[in-house]
Symmetry: C2
């Protein structure tokens, strides 16, 4: 069968499964997830065997130890997937939730009720555990999902797909609710991105290259973020002790993720006191600083920042630092170089906090806490399938509710339009 | 200046205006709308003069009387625009509304606050009054808007744009918040649809041809519906007296709109009693019936329906009629031929009503009322900019809230991620 025919069939099957999933109740969906968790633990040897094939190819290809680590499905990784499933079982089912109901002057009751989006295309790289995470979030929110993982994880992903499939059958759910595309052919992605009739939404997760490829080639709406160029602005009224800990946490706690701080903005009136001490802490932790001319003159060991450092997502122990003469300059800098992802202010001033929240156009705007909190789990959504920095549908982390939409329901007793 | 350069400049200006609009308060926006209402009435002669140019071209081109009627901006039409502005002033401002707020175990408060989408591209046909409607809805929801109307209304639209512009200036709002593309060049649309950096969302309103052209050529997400193939299902447990009035209203009250009934589905067990009487009423009102074989055999004067009649949006006094053997058959028919727009059931049975609501995948699912109620005004949204039958962002009529999104705000006191 040609790749095109195969992907079209997968999409048609996904649409059919989505119709059935619409009216399946929570218990059945939870039961499928519980069965899946059990099966993953039972089948850990089979998973390990298939995973070993991917690991051996990866070693031959000379993938980095970090990449190989992310690819590995050892017992720990499998237990962690099973625990993740348990957490999703415990989350409330968004489907069927009435988000509002009101009565019209003519006596009709009008409500809005959450329903699944339909069919989700999920395109991702290396980590095979994402296969189970994404499948379980889509299933719990009543959507069917087509998963396209990285070629380096194909054997692991196919093994997981088989286990997911048998769990769906055992729970009495349509097996085609979760499908893994069984090929490493890149054409499969391009074809999937053209099937707007059968696929409602595309969620890509991975590096900026993948995301740009998907966005440029998709005829289906894409929920995604390209990068997180997150700023912390240390205001002239900041509690400097708090500012040290927040900035250190935002940069150092996990530098390789999208909600880590990439640029530090410091109000001139506190720069003299704050910057040298902050720089020392960061440099001790191995952070390379690239500063504006004022930063360079105030702190030793700082490289002069180039223009390309301001919009950069370093994803590493590198930080751009700029002294600003007032809050306006900080806001203008964020507007120009930011990525609408996450911005934080450290201040004790009530009006500065209010203004920062009102004017910064980011999916999360944070007062006096680390940027690292922009995450579905940390914000209280329970789990996330990704972060969206386009304004459409859901701005910011997307949890179960964000994988649904609402329809209007109307209860009348014979009302006519005049 | 080339069309491309012009449209790019318009989009850049719209983005800049959108930044300013983000933190402008309700009073100022309302004041701009009130000033605009006054100005429209004051400038009615100038509007009429420009409108006369469009009308004279339309007559020369031989446009239909209905089209010319829609193009006409007489005193009535202008007063109606001014009244519409008053209604939008009276609606609550969605921007800044907190849709939820909760406390995390670490003491952080997390909330979601409504913010504007940003820049909206609105592409529409003939009616120039839509220029004022769309501009006022976008402005009230804090968005800037780029309007591209039909070539037949260009003089009227430019006159309205001038008046809107001077109202914005008088109210102290950025003049570029509302821009009308000052050309009838079709290339302008294609260019606008490519400017994803500066335009956040495209809303087309018009015939299916326009909508398909926009969707196929847009690199920006499009909120739209192609057509409304709305069904009424008269169940075996229907109150038949109610069913006559609902079906008559859904078909006849205004047949040329997207929420009018296009297909009537009747349960076999009531078809013998219901169909002949219903058909007589509809035929008396000039409705042409196209029926399944059973309908043809039960009712006189019914044409046999062809396959192409089932997915058809007639927008006219034409109705497809099918007898179904049970509710399952009705649901399968709707799933196959429906447009996810509006579906209604007439029944006295509690379980049938519940099941119809759960299983029908339409933006409005209605029990015992006319399909004609799927409209932002009628459902209580206050006003609508259009109806969306894609699941993304907002399914169904889009009012002021649907022209916004939410961002997360976080209030901490030094929280760090561990």
């Amino acid at each position: 069968m040609s790749v095109e025919k195969m992907i079209k069939e997968i999409a048609k099957d996904a649409r059919e499964a989505a119709c059935k999933l619409r009216s399946i109740d929570t218990q059945k969906k939870n039961s499928a997830l519980e069965i899946l968790a059990e099966k993953l633990l039972q089948e850990k040897d089979r998973i390990a065997k298939e995973n070993a094939k991917d690991l051996s190819t990866a070693e031959k290809k000379g993938l980095s130890p970090a990449m190989i680590d992310r690819l590995t499905l050892d017992e720990n990784a499998i237990q962690s997937m099973a625990r993740g499933l348990g957490e999703i079982v415990s989350l409330p089912d968004p489907v069927g939730k009435t988000t509002g109901m009101w009565k019209r002057p003519n006596g009709m009751e009008v409500g809005r009720v959450r329903i699944p989006l339909g069919v989700i295309g999920f395109i991702y790289e290396s980590r095979p555990n994402v296969t189970v995470d994404a499948a379980s979030l889509c299933l719990k929110s009543g959507n069917s999902v087509i998963l396209k993982g990285g070629s380096e994880a194909i054997n692991s992903n196919m093994a997981l797909a088989g286990i997911i499939n048998s769990a769906l059958h055992e729970a009495g759910l349509p097996g085609k609710a979760v499908q893994v595309i069984p090929t490493t052919d890149r054409e499969a992605v391009t074809i999937l991105l053209s099937l707007g009739e059968d696929v409602d939404i595309i969620i890509p997760r991975g590096g900026e290259g993948l995301i740009r490829f998907v966005t440029e080639n998709s005829q289906i709406p894409v929920l995604k973020h390209y990068k997180g160029v997150c700023h912390v602005y240390v205001d002239e009224f900041a509690d400097l002790e708090m500012a040290y800990t927040i900035c250190f946490n935002a940069k150092v706690q996990r530098p390789g993720v999208c909600n880590a701080m990439e640029t530090l903005l410091v109000h001139r009136s506190v720069a003299g006191e704050f910057l040298p001490k902050m720089a020392e802490q960061l440099q001790k932790a191995g952070v390379e600083l690239r500063g504006c001319s004022e930063t360079v003159s105030r702190v030793s060991g700082v490289k002069a920042a180039e223009e390309s450092d301001w919009p950069a997502e370093f994803l590493d122990l590198v930080l751009a630092v700029k002294v600003v003469s007032d809050m306006d300059e900080a806001l203008v800098h964020i507007e120009k170089y930011g990525s609408n992802h996450t911005e934080a202010i450290v201040t004790r001033d009530y009006n500065r906090a209010r203004r920062f929240i009102a004017e910064v156009d980011s999916s999360a705007v944070i007062v006096n806490a680390s940027t690292r909190f922009n995450d579905g789990n940390q914000l209280g959504l329970g789990a996330e399938i990704g972060i969206n920095t386009s304004k459409l549908h859901a701005f910011g982390p997307m949890g179960l509710e964000e994988l649904t939409t609402t329809k209007f329901v109307v209860f009348g007793n014979g009302q006519l339009r005049s």
